[in-house]
Structures are given as C-alpha cells and as structure tokens.
Symmetry: C2
Subunit: 150 residues, 2 copies
C-alpha cells in the first residue's frame, strides 16, 4: 500500500454505518466496549444537523480510518475545532494513514478559522501520545474529566 | 443574601462584556491569567452564531456568576451538553449560587434532549471536585488533554 493509494474525503450519509462500526472498534481498543450507547440514528441526526464533521480514509474504496470532529468555542482561545474520534483499522496502522487524517483535521480547522484544536488521549496510549507530540501538540495532564450520563 | 434574591437567566448581548471579564477572573484563579487570548469580538460572534449558551446569576441586577456551555456530540453517548466555563465571584461563593447555576445547566441539557453532560476540573481544585462528586458526577483521571494553538 502506497500513500498515493489513500484518499481522504468528507463522509456522506451512506458512510455513517461504517464509521459507527469504527467508533465501536475504537471503544473496544480503549477497553470500554460497552460504553457506546449512542444509536446509529443519533449519528444520522447529528450529521444532518451539521453538529459533526466526518472524514474518512479510503483504500480501494474501503473505509480504513476516520475522524469525527466538531466546531466549538474555547472561552480562552476563541473558535476551536475539536477531534472527538480518530481511528485507523489495525491492519492499516504505521503506514501514514493516521498522519494523513490528522493533517486533514488540522487543515480543516485552519479553513474554519479556528484558533485552536483540542482532543483527548488515554494516559496509557503511549503510541498515540508520541504521535501527537511529534505533531507539536501540547499534552496537559492536570485536568480531570467530569461527566453525568442521564 | 437569600437564595430567593438570586436570579438565573439567559444572557443577552449586553451581558457579554461582564461575562468576558468573569472568564478572565477564572483564568487568573486557575493560575493562567495570560491564557485568555480570545477577544470580546470572538464572544460576540460565537454568541450571534449560537455556538455558545451563556447563563448568568444576578443579585441586585449585578452579574455574580455565569456558565458558558455548548451543544456537541459524543460518539459514545450521542447528543451532549458541554460546560466550558463556570464561575461565581469570590464574595458570593458558598451561598448556593454555584448550585443554582449548575442545576440550571443540567436542566438545560435535559431540555435539549442530551444524553450526557461533560466538563473539566483541575486536579488541585479539591473544592470543585467535591462539589461535582456531591452532584453525582463521574470524575475520570485517565485522559490527557492535547491541543495545538495556531
């Protein structure tokens, strides 16, 4: 597989079923397979309402990776683009696909005139942390997440 | 000051200048006074584009606290309401104002049919962590933030 054979493009509604499956694979990789309670209809609705932007990496017309991101606002920095999910299928890792998807995410944020991009990474995911540091990301360890699930 | 004298309401454009000042006070409290590079014009734009929801706590017509939140999407849970900023002026703390603002935030999330609320808290802010735990929040310590500022 050459990089030239990979195509990054904006997802259309018909791609969502595969993206939903990738999200569930990522949750499994993150040791939380049961955590995905969102239904595919929630995805269709969020996509139709332009609440999320989905990009896909294609190889031979097969979706092998994706990013899910959204516009939001940092009270400190201004307009922000947030990377909610980022996944490459296991068989296609370490081949530059992740870098292409990440570059596309950064490019999209700049096109949208965002002042900052933000996302999260699990503390044990050393490979991902190295990847982000190589991409000049600032890694912050002093914030806890807090949440209430209804 | 009685709780009855506190009014929680949705901010209008004219309140933004005070909210912007509260955000800067919060950044100072979090030991990052220089971190706020967003301009007040960024706030006006985000507010006009409905990218942010601002609620204010009023006492004698004076803004003594606020929340800044936004609609977003969790690929795991579905529609989510995110609490970006939450602040009560020092002189008005421990009087129930924060609880009123937080209850309003939760109520707003439910009205918007969100499946989850999420926010962040600094690891040393023991008072805030206690407050959130009292409100049945799950505190997650295993995620790092990553960001790139343009």
């Amino acid at each position: 597989m050459n990089k030239e054979e990979i195509l990054i493009k904006t997802a259309t509604e018909k791609d969502i079923i595969v993206v939903y499956d990738l999200v569930k694979k990522l949750a499994k990789f993150e040791n939380e397979p049961e955590a995905v309670t969102a239904k595919i209809t929630d995805y269709y609705k969020a996509f139709a309402e332009r609440l999320i932007v989905i990009k896909i990496a294609l190889f031979n017309d097969k979706i092998i990776g994706c990013t899910v991101s959204y516009d939001t606002f940092s009270t400190w920095k201004g307009k922000m683009f947030y990377l909610e999910d980022f996944f490459v299928l296991e068989d296609f890792r370490s081949k530059g696909v992740g870098q292409m998807l990440f570059d596309d995410f950064i490019g999209e944020a700049k096109t949208r005139d965002c002042k900052m991009v933000k996302w999260q990474v699990l503390d044990w995911n050393v490979g991902a942390i190295k990847f982000y540091e190589k991409n000049n990301a600032i890694i912050e360890k002093e914030w806890y997440n807090a949440k209430i699930i209804f």
